[in-house]
Symmetry: C2
Subunit: 402 residues, 2 copies
C-alpha cells in the first residue's frame, strides 16, 4: 500500500471564532494514487488521529494500531488500490496537527488555553486547505464515524459542490442533551483537577492533569458501550487476582470486590492519559457538543439543500451515544433536501463502538455505496421498511437494554 | 399528623464485615399511632434521610423538603392516620445516623474511612434493631425506592416472618454493569480530589472535597433522568443571562454557550455538596453496588423462598438506572418463589426520578396494595399482559429514547 505520512504548514489560519494563529500545521496520511476523481476523505472520531490504516508507522502517538485498519486498505471496503484516501488530524487535537499543546511561535511556549476555540467547521476548512495543498479539488466521498460523521455533514454544508458522496456513520445532526451533560461532567473532571492549573500544565516541572483526564475517558467508555455489551463483557465479576487498583480508594473498598468493569475502565484510562492532551480533550468535546447541522440555516434539511450528491447514513441499534432515531431523523432531512439517501441500520449490541468493531457489517455497505451509491448491493434503507409498516430501527432494537 | 423525630442509641453494632462500632445511633421519624399490626417501614434512597414526610422540621439537613411528602401523610397513599410509618436514616449516611462523619467515641475524632464498610444487610439489621426499640415486632409492609427497594428486598430475605407486604419501587435484585461503571467513576471523582485527603478532611482547617462530590452528584443526576426528560427539560438551550458558571472552565469555553443542562447540573451539585458527606457517598454507593439479592442463595427466587407475604414491584418505563426489565425479572423470581406478586409498570419518561415525581401514578397502587394486597384496585400486573401476548413493559417503552 502506497502511503504518504506528512505534516503540511497551511500558514495563517482564521478560526470560526474570528481568532487566527500564525501557522496551522496539519498532519495527514494518504494512501493510494490520486487519479483526479477517486479521492476519499476519512474523518476521525474525537480522540482519533490521521493514522487510519496500515502498519507502516512506529510513532503512532500511543495508539496500539491504526484506528480503522479493518475498513481502509488494499482490497478492503475503502480500497486503497482504487481510491486515494486521505485522513487528517483535526486542529485542536494532539496527534501532529496544531492544538493547545503545540508551540505558539509568537511566544515560544505551548498555546495552552490561548489556543482559539475550534469547531467542526474549522476542521472542515482545514481539511479543505490541506486538500488544496495536495492538489485535490474534488472528493469522491467523505466518510467518518461519530463526531467524524458530523465533520462529514459539515462538508456537505460548506462545500456541497466538492463532494459526490457522504457517509456519516454513528453520527447525528447534533448531540442530544444526555450526552451534552456527560461531556460537561467530563470537562469538569479535567478543569477541577488541580494539576490542570487553568490549562497551563506543560513543561517538565508540572504534572499533567491525569486524574481528570482519566475520569473523562472513563465516562467516554461508558458512552461507547451499551448496557448489553457491558453486561456481556464484564457482568458483576470481580477482576482477576492480578488486577491492581490504579486509583485511590478508601480502606472500606477492600471489603468489596474490585470489579472487572472497574479494572477495564482503569486500564483504558491509564493508557489514554499517556497519549492524549487534556486541553485537547476540552477543545474537541466542545467542538462536538457545539456542532449543530442546522446552525445558520432554517433546518437540517435546509443546511443540506445545496448538496446534490448521495448519502449513506449508517447507525447501530445498540448505540445510545448517537442513536438510530437520530440517524433516521438525519436521513429524513436528507430525503427532504432531495438528496438520494439511504439509512443503513446495523443490528448490533456493541454500542457506539460498533462502527469500529463491526467491520464485517460496516464494510460491505460502505464499499458498495462508494462504488454504486445508494443503489449499491449491500446498502439497505429504512425508507422501504417504513412503507411496509415495519422498521429495522424500531425502538425495540435501539433500547439500551437490547 | 403525629410525628416522632428522634435519635436512638442501639449500642454496639456488628457490621456484616465483622467489624463493630461501640454505639450505633439511628435517626428516625415516625408518623401516626402504632396499633400492633399497622407498622409500615419506608426505606430511603441513596442520599435520602429519615425526613420522609411533613413540614415539622426546620433542621432538614439541607433538604428543601421531605423527600416523599406527596406519598406519605394524612390521607395520602401511605396514610399516616391508618399506618404507623417509620423511616430511619441508614448507617453510613450523614443525616443523623452514625456514619463516617460521626465522632468515634474511642478517639474523639470523626471515623472517616475507619468507619466499617456498610451493606444493605447492615441497614436492614439496624432497622430491625430500631423497631425493637420502638416496640414494633412485626411490619405490615416495607416500602422503598431505588436502593431503598433493595433494602425492602433484604427485609424479605432476612426477616421473612416479620413482614406481610413488600413494595420495591424502581429497584432491582442487583445493579447492572453500566450503572456499576458510572458509580465507580463517581467514586474516583471523589477519591482523586486532593481535598479528599484519603478520607481525612473533617475539621475547620481542611476544605471538603467539594469538586469530587459535585462531579459524583452530577453523574447521579444523569442517571436519574431519561434521554427524553433531559431533552424536554433542557434541550440544547443556553442558560439564562443570569446564570453563572460555578465550575472552572478554559477561556475557549466562553465562545460556546453555557447550556441550561450544565447550569442545572452545576446548581444541583452546588446544593448537594453543602448537605452531603463525601465519605458517606463512597460508602452508600458501594453498599448499593454490592447488593445482590441472590448472594448466599442459589438464585433470586431462592433468596425470596421463605417470604410468605405479598409483593408489589413497581417500575417506570423511562428508568434506565433500574429498568422495567430488571423489575420484571424480580417479579418473575417472586412468582417462582410462590409469592403473590404483581409488577405494576408506570409509563413515564421521567427516568429514575419518576418514583419521586409521579405521585399520581405511584400513590394509588401503593395505597391499594397496602390495603388489599395484589388484589388492590389500582394494582396492575404484567403477568396478565403476557398471557395476552402483549406487555406494558415491552422494550419499546423502556427505551432510553422513549
Amino acid at each position: 500500500m502506497e502511503v504518504e505520512h506528512d505534516t503540511v504548514s497551511l500558514g495563517e489560519f482564521e478560526f470560526e471564532c474570528g481568532e487566527t494563529i500564525p501557522d496551522l500545521e496539519i498532519e495527514y496520511e494518504a494512501y493510494g494514487e490520486f487519479t483526479g476523481d477517486n479521492a476519499v476523505l476519512v474523518c476521525h472520531a474525537l480522540t482519533g488521529s490521521a493514522h487510519v490504516a496500515g502498519t507502516h508507522r512506529s510513532d503512532t502517538g500511543g495508539q496500539a494500531r491504526a484506528w480503522w485498519d479493518d475498513i481502509v486498505g488494499a482490497g478492503k471496503a475503502v480500497d486503497t488500490t482504487e481510491y486515494y484516501v486521505v485522513c487528517a488530524n483535526v486542529p485542536g487535537s494532539c496527534y501532529g496537527s496544531t492544538g493547545p499543546a503545540s508551540e505558539n511561535p509568537e511566544t515560544g511556549e505551548p498555546y495552552g488555553t490561548d489556543f482559539p476555540p475550534v469547531t467542526v467547521g474549522d476542521w472542515t476548512e482545514a481539511q479543505r486547505a490541506l486538500l488544496d495543498e495536495l492538489g485535490v479539488p474534488h472528493l469522491h466521498a467523505v466518510v467518518g464515524g461519530s463526531v467524524g460523521g458530523m465533520n462529514v455533514l459539515e462538508w456537505a454544508t460548506r462545500h456541497p459542490d466538492h463532494v459526490e458522496r457522504i457517509v456519516p456513520i454513528a453520527a447525528a445532526a447534533r448531540l442530544d442533551t444526555q450526552c451534552l451533560a456527560i461531556d460537561a461532567v467530563a470537562r469538569r473532571a479535567i478543569t477541577t483537577d488541580e494539576d490542570w492549573n487553568g490549562g497551563d500544565y506543560y513543561g517538565e516541572d508540572r504534572p499533567n492533569p491525569k486524574d481528570g483526564l482519566a475520569l473523562a475517558r472513563q465516562l467516554g467508555h461508558v458512552m461507547y458501550l451499551s448496557k448489553a455489551s457491558m453486561e456481556r463483557k464484564f457482568g458483576r465479576r470481580a477482576a482477576g487476582r492480578d488486577a491492581v487498583r490504579s486509583f485511590p480508594a478508601d480502606p472500606a473498598a477492600n471489603f468489596f470486590p474490585y470489579r472487572d468493569v472497574e479494572s477495564y475502565l482503569d486500564y483504558q484510562a491509564e493508557k489514554f492519559v499517556e497519549r492524549f492532551d487534556a486541553n485537547s480533550y476540552l477543545y474537541l468535546t466542545r467542538a462536538m457538543d457545539n456542532y449543530d447541522l442546522s446552525s445558520g440555516f432554517e433546518s437540517d434539511a435546509d443546511a443540506l439543500a445545496a448538496f446534490e450528491g448521495e448519502a449513506l447514513v449508517m447507525s447501530f441499534t445498540g448505540d445510545w451515544h448517537f442513536t438510530t432515531q437520530q440517524a433516521e431523523s438525519l436521513a429524513d432531512s436528507l430525503r427532504s433536501a432531495d438528496v438520494e439517501a439511504a439509512h443503513h441500520v446495523v443490528d448490533s449490541d456493541h454500542g457506539h463502538d460498533a462502527f469500529l468493531v463491526e467491520p464485517d457489517h460496516v464494510g460491505p455497505p460502505v464499499a458498495d455505496f462508494l462504488e454504486a451509491g445508494v443503489a449499491g448491493n449491500a446498502v439497505t434503507d429504512t425508507a422501504g421498511d417504513e412503507e411496509e409498516g415495519e422498521s429495522d430501527f424500531a425502538p425495540v432494537h435501539t433500547s439500551l437494554f437490547s
